[in-house]
C-alpha cells in the first residue's frame, strides 16, 4: 500500500498522496518521529502524545487535498496542525504545565559526568514552564525543530517580524524567570 517508488521531492510525494491517499504512508513515516517528539515535549506524557499525534496525522490525511505547496513545506503544515491540536488540548485541560518528566530521568539519560548540564536543564525547564504556552511552543519550534522565523510564523499564524519580537520577549522573560529563581535562592 505504501509507495513503491520513493520520490525525493517532497512536493511530488504530496501530490501523489493527494491523488491517491494510500500513498500518505510515506509522508507519515517521514514525519511521525518529529511530530511525536514535538507533541511529547508539549504534553509530557506518552499517552497524550500518542493520542495527539494520531489526531495530527488523521487531520492531515483528511485535509490533504486542501494543502497547496506555495513555498510552505509539508512539514511546516504538519507542525501547524500539531500546534493547533496541542493548543486545543491545553485549552481543554486548562493547565499550564509541560514536561512532567522528572530530573532523575534526565540524569539517567545524560550520565553523571554531565551533572552541570543536568542542573542547567532542570533550572531551565522550571523557568520555561512558567512561560505562557505559546512562548514555550515558540522555543521548541525555534531551538528543537530549528525552523526559521518565517516558518514559525506560518505555524503560529503570525508575521515573521511578530515571531522575532515574540522570541525576543520570550528570551527576556526567560532571563527574568531565571533571575527570579536566582533571587529566591539568595
Amino acid at each position: 500500500m505504501i509507495l513503491q517508488t520513493e520520490p525525493s521531492d517532497e512536493a511530488e510525494l504530496v501530490e501523489q498522496a493527494k491523488a491517491d491517499t494510500t500513498a500518505f504512508g510515506e509522508l507519515y513515516q517521514r514525519y511521525v518521529g518529529r511530530i511525536y517528539s514535538y507533541v511529547y515535549n508539549r504534553t509530557g506524557n506518552q499517552s497524550d502524545a500518542e493520542d495527539l499525534t494520531e489526531r495530527v496525522f488523521v487531520q492531515a490525511l483528511t485535509h490533504l487535498r486542501g494543502y497547496t505547496y506555495r513555498g510552505l513545506p509539508f512539514s511546516v503544515w504538519l507542525f501547524r496542525i500539531a500546534h493547533n491540536v496541542v493548543a486545543n488540548w491545553h485549552r481543554d485541560r486548562q493547565r499550564n504545565k509541560t514536561v512532567p518528566m522528572d530530573d532523575a530521568t534526565l540524569t539517567a539519560e545524560m550520565g553523571t559526568d554531565r551533572l552541570e548540564m543536568v542542573e542547567d536543564v532542570a533550572q531551565l525547564r522550571r523557568a520555561m514552564t512558567k512561560l505562557p504556552q505559546d512562548r514555550q511552543q515558540l522555543l521548541l519550534l525555534k531551538f528543537n525543530e530549528e525552523l526559521s522565523h518565517a516558518e514559525i510564523g506560518k505555524i503560529m499564524n503570525r508575521s515573521e517580524g511578530a515571531v522575532k519580537a515574540l522570541l525576543h520577549r520570550t528570551l527576556k522573560a526567560l532571563k527574568h524567570e531565571l533571575q527570579g529563581a536566582l533571587d529566591e535562592g539568595h
Binding site: M1, D20, T21, T22, A23, F24, G25, Y28, Q29, V32, G33, Y36, S37, Y40, N41, Q46, A49, E50, T53, E54, F57, V58, L61, T62, H63, R65, G66, V99, L106, E109, M110, E116, M117, E119, D120, V121, A122, Q123, L124, R125, A127, M128, L139, L140, K142, F143, N144, K164, A165, L167, H168, L171, K172, L174, K175, L178, Q179, A181, L182, G185
Partner: protein, 106 residues
C-alpha cells in the same frame, strides 16, 4: 557552588537592539540547554505501526469518500447562490411579463 540560574541568565543578555533580538542565534549554549531540556523522543514501534495501519484504513475509506476542500465547498456554495439568484430573476421577469400582458387596457 556555581550558581546555575546566574550562569544561564547571563547567557541571555538583552538591551533591545535589533542584533540582540537575534540572540537566539548568538547564544548556542542556551539553545543547547533547551534541546537538552526537551530531548528528541521517539514513538514506540507498536504505536508507529498501529497508527500506520489506521491511516492506511482511513486513506482507503477517503479514496471512496473524498472530503470536500474549503475551496471546493466555497465554489459549491457560490454555484448554489448563483443558481438561486438566476431562478429568482427568471421568476421576477416572468411575473412582470405576466402582469404587463394581462393588465386591463386604459
Amino acid at each position: 557552588m556555581k550558581d546555575i540560574s546566574a550562569r544561564l541568565a547571563l547567557k541571555l543578555p538583552f538591551g533591545g537592539s535589533e542584533n540582540e533580538r537575534e540572540a537566539a542565534d548568538v547564544y548556542p549554549e542556551v539553545v543547547d540547554t533547551v534541546r537538552q531540556a526537551y530531548p528528541n523522543v521517539e514513538p514506540s514501534r507498536a504505536f508507529r505501526d498501529a497508527l500506520h495501519a489506521r491511516l492506511l484504513a482511513e486513506a482507503a475509506w477517503l479514496k471512496d469518500h473524498p472530503v470536500e476542500t474549503p475551496r471546493e465547498a466555497a465554489m459549491r456554495r457560490s454555484a448554489f447562490v448563483a443558481a438561486a439568484l438566476l431562478l429568482l430573476s427568471l421568476a421576477a421577469l416572468a411575473w412582470r411579463n405576466h402582469h404587463t400582458h394581462t393588465a386591463p387596457a386604459q
